[in-house]
Amino acid sequence: MNKPEVATELFVLLSAVLFTLGSMGVLLRRNAILIFMSIELMLNSANLALVAFARQWNQTDAHLLVFFVMTVAAAEVAVGLALIVTIYRTKQSTDVDDLHSLQG
């Protein structure tokens, strides 16, 4: 295996930046759909780090793990969006601040 021109560190650093942006999105935005998109961004950055480490250690197993993460993400998106649609039907809003019925 040739020594890669782009070091693994750079990929992991980019993944850390994307993850941070995703977590900022989750905490700052109040729209449920946007929060959901930010979660997808975080999942993707984790996948990127996994693929980078897979190349570093020459292990195909990590690619399989990424494949599984993508599948779980697809399932999660389907269920999550269904939840958002149901909530929108009753509340006529996707703002997460409106959902405080469980607050004591």
Binding site: L13, M37, A78, L81, D95
Partner: protein
């Protein structure tokens, strides 16, 4: 000087960060979704740079395709594309706190990544791996059994099997003709196999001149990366059977104008030589031992062309840095005439790294159970979505009761209550 790949990485990485930021600050949810698609496409491209073509395809189709279509569909369905300006934050301190926490997180992560010693570590196979190379000229395909279990099937002459991974230990290997029964009279060769540590072993099957039959030469090849030197490893095996001693020598004849550079002076039948070559294009040749010296002596100091005939030569093979190459000098018996032939096998420990084939193989061997579980999870999610989004219809009885209440002639609640009160007054008056 920034290389092409690095420049590409910087551009794609910057674009992906830009797309993520734009996704966060867009006022319109549809725009956010479109920026997220750009980000996913960038990440897919980075997968390609990380030699993961299968994941590239999956990322584009599943993520940027299916999942984002679902997002856009839901946004448009609900008409929720316009994100209202946030008039009142429930927690006013949240924004500043979030910014602070994420900055600290990013700083710590960046520091950890920069100060790590990833670059010094070498990828290593975790288990010993081995393969068999069929170099017995003029014989048919063979099968190889390890401890009675068939691990190599239909190994033709001039072929190398895939690498097999076994836990360290000692095993017994048996070589029999292809599709023959595993009975003692069929066994061509029975040899102990020792696997240890993270060894990479090629067992080269060659004719056994002394006793007849087949022998296995154990050739260890290191394939781990060696970053400090730009060297590639070449392992030469002499497998041309001859009754008496017939040593060969290996020379580098890349430059036709130069004299051959003898790399291996003397290699007897059955012996193995390890070479380290600087990476580059090579033309290598094998000679009977002493031929190069004799030809040089014969020519003397004149400028004449060297009168030298190689047993066999192999040209323009690119020897990459950190690869290992196994070179088996053997005989070719195709077409009736016997002549030397070189078998060239790269010693790459993971030839299908990241390819769809490699992933598929792993998926249906080591990861079949997780695959099934994931499939089940998808099915559950599908059912869950149907249950969640099902419109809650009012029960049949209730609807019937309401309809009956509105039919003219039926008493309304007030009339009913009045009649009840009247009845009560009548009964008390008795």
């Amino acid at each position: 000087m920034v290389g092409t790949e690095l420049a590409l990485f910087i551009m794609i990485g910057a674009l992906s960060i830009l797309a993520a930021v734009m996704m966060l600050i867009s006022e319109n949810a549809v725009h956010s979704a479109l920026f997220l698609i750009v980000n996913f496409a960038c990440v897919a491209f980075l997968y390609l740079m990380l030699s993961a073509p299968f994941l590239f395809a999956v990322q584009i189709t599943v993520y940027a395709g299916a999942i984002m279509v679902l997002f856009l569909f839901v946004i448009m369905l609900m008409g929720a594309e316009r994100v209202l300006p946030q008039e009142t934050q429930r927690f006013p301190w949240l924004s500043s706190a979030t910014l602070g926490i994420t900055m600290v997180l990013l700083f710590v992560a960046g520091l950890a990544i920069i100060r790590s010693d990833l670059g010094d570590s070498e990828p290593k196979p975790s288990q010993p791996i081995f393969r068999f190379v069929h170099a017995v000229a003029g014989t048919d395909a063979v099968d190889v059994y390890i401890n009675g279990e068939r691990v190599v099937s239909d190994l033709e002459y001039r072929e190398a099997s895939d690498f097999e991974k076994f836990p360290a230990g000692s095993y017994t290997a048996q070589v029999i003709p292809h599709n023959a029964d595993l009975v003692p009279e069929n066994v061509l060769l029975e040899t102990p196999v020792f696997l240890a540590g993270n060894g990479v072993i090629s067992y080269v099957l060659t004719p056994d001149v002394a006793n007849g039959g087949v022998q296995a030469l154990q050739v260890e090849g290191r394939i781990d990366a060696n970053d400090e030197k730009d060297f590639a490893r070449l392992t030469v095996v002499h497998a041309i059977p001859c009754a008496a001693a017939c040593p060969i020598e290996v020379a580098d004849i890349t430059e036709p104008s130069d004299d051959p550079q003898v790399l291996v002076k003397s290699l007897e039948y059955g012996q193995v030589a390890h070479l380290e070559l600087q990476e580059g294009d090579y033309t290598l040749a094998a000679y009977n031992q002493g031929d190069v010296r004799a030809a040089l002596d014969e020519r003397g100091d004149t400028d004449e062309k060297l009168n030298l005939n190689a047993l066999v030569e192999i040209d323009d093979k690119v020897v990459d840095q950190n690869t290992g190459v196994l070179w088996v000098v053997t005989q070719d018996t195709t077409g009736g005439n016997v002549r030397p032939k070189i078998l060239w096998f790269a010693l790459d420990n993971n030839p299908d790294f990241g390819s769809a084939e490699g992933i598929g193989q792993l998926l249906f061997t080591d990861y079949l159970l997780p695959f099934e579980v994931i499939g089940l999870l998808l099915l559950t999610a599908m059912v869950g979505v149907i249950v969640l989004t099902k419109q809650h219809e009012t029960p049949k009885k209730e609807r019937f009761r309401r309809r009956m209440a509105n039919v003219a002639g039926n008493p309304t609640v007030e009339e009913y209550m009045q009649s009840m009160r009247k009845n009560a007054a009548d009964s008390s008056g008795d």
